[in-house]
């Protein structure tokens, strides 16, 4: 009888353990994905079971250089991934999506900004990302293309990533800021989006790569394959990202 009880208890323990294992992905299977701040909403929507670290791509590049234990690196600019690839720190990167820039202003628009050209005409507190951050570089490209680099003199703050730029404008701490259109959506209830002309748009390309030191390369490859699949691309599109650009 005692033997039967012990067997029953053992069976229950096994069933409970199995149930727990099914409820959460075992730590050993979980990928650590370092991704550009602009991917903060879309990546967990695509797969909520992984461990993510979102920041400016330049900061993530530095962390990987310093040996951070990432399995995958998704950057908002090919510059960061290609530098790591050249240093042998990531496998060959692939492009997985594209984006566009927009100017955002707070809903009450205290500086009365209605076009990008108004930045030159009117007194304005402008917030942008730092030059080393991809969106900061793209912002400077837009201003150069439009002949508006003089408005850089009106920058009151340079942020470490695009989410910080969007946050400052949404909170009314700045009159205007340059962000990706996808980040403008994340604060859509608090800002007005001003279109940047198509001819002045920078070539915003996102790249992804497996970190060379990753011990989970097969899982990382499967994750990237899912991102590049029709399903993955559909989720990106749902969040406002652009389709895979022609090679």
């Amino acid at each position: 009888m005692a033997r039967r009880s012990r067997a029953a208890v053992f069976a229950i323990v096994v069933v409970v353990a199995a149930a727990l294992a099914g409820a959460a992905k075992p730590q050993s299977d979980q990928l650590t994905i370092y991704a550009a701040a602009s991917l903060t909403d879309v990546f967990p929507a695509l797969d909520s079971s992984q461990r993510y670290s979102f920041a400016g791509s330049n900061a993530l590049e530095t962390q990987i250089r310093n040996g951070a234990p990432a399995d995958i690196f998704a950057s908002a600019s090919p510059v960061n991934t290609q530098r790591l690839f050249a240093a042998g720190l990531v496998d060959k990167p692939v492009t997985f999506t594209a984006n566009r820039l927009a100017l955002i202003v707070p809903k009450d628009n205290p500086a009365d900004i209605h076009t990008v050209y108004d930045l030159k005409r009117k007194p304005v507190k402008l917030v942008i990302a730092g030059a080393a951050v991809p969106v900061g570089g793209y912002t400077r490209t837009v201003l150069k293309k439009m002949g508006l680099t003089s408005v850089l003199a009106k920058v009151v703050s340079q942020e470490t990533d695009v989410r910080a730029v969007a946050g400052k404008v949404a909170l009314g701490q700045a009159d205007a800021g340059f962000v990706y259109v996808t980040d403008a959506r994340s604060v859509a209830d608090r800002v007005t989006v001003i279109k940047i002309p198509a001819w002045a748009q920078p070539r915003v390309r996102y790249e992804i790569a497996i970190v060379s030191k990753s011990s989970k390369k097969a899982a990382a490859q499967a994750w990237i394959k899912n991102l590049l699949s029709k399903k993955g691309q559909a989720v990106l599109k749902q969040f406002g990202f652009l389709p895979l650009p022609p090679a």
Binding site: K144, K145, A198
Partner: protein, 188 residues
Amino acid sequence: MNRRRFVASAAGAGLATLSGPWGVAAAATDDDFAFAYFGLSAEYLLADFYGKAIEAKKIDREHLNTLKTGRTYARQHAKSLTDLLVGGGTDAPTAQDFDFQWPKAVFADGAKALETGETILGTLQGVYQTAAATSTEPTFRVLFASLASASAQQVGLLRAIAGRPEAEPFPVALDLEAASDAIDSYLG
């Protein structure tokens, strides 16, 4: 021929952009580059327009050569502007960077297509006039003047096909903002 006279000639403009500019990066202003970026994008748009108009076959066949020549010139202009930008130390977009948006009605009949072509060319002509008038860098200025003249000739040709008056005494100059508003919806 001294350098100044060479630069001031139309032949000089062509050679300057094909064989590399002289000290462009140091002398060109923000505005010079902005005009060149806009012009390049609009020339890609114009080449695409001509291609679509040729495919649509809604314009009399006797004018096919005019359309084909227009497309060739737009591509040549794009090449010159690309050389100018790259020579000035900046990146230049390619036609593949754009997702041109044409309303369905544009190529459904010849008159509408000609009107759209005239809008693009008139915008280019206007912005090149302003660019030529304001640029202080000879390499940019001479090319912009040449492009304004070429655009005006093409406007005249499209108007002739459409049966409208071919010439006007003072074509309007446009700043970049107005030019951008006129055609950006086609650029995507």
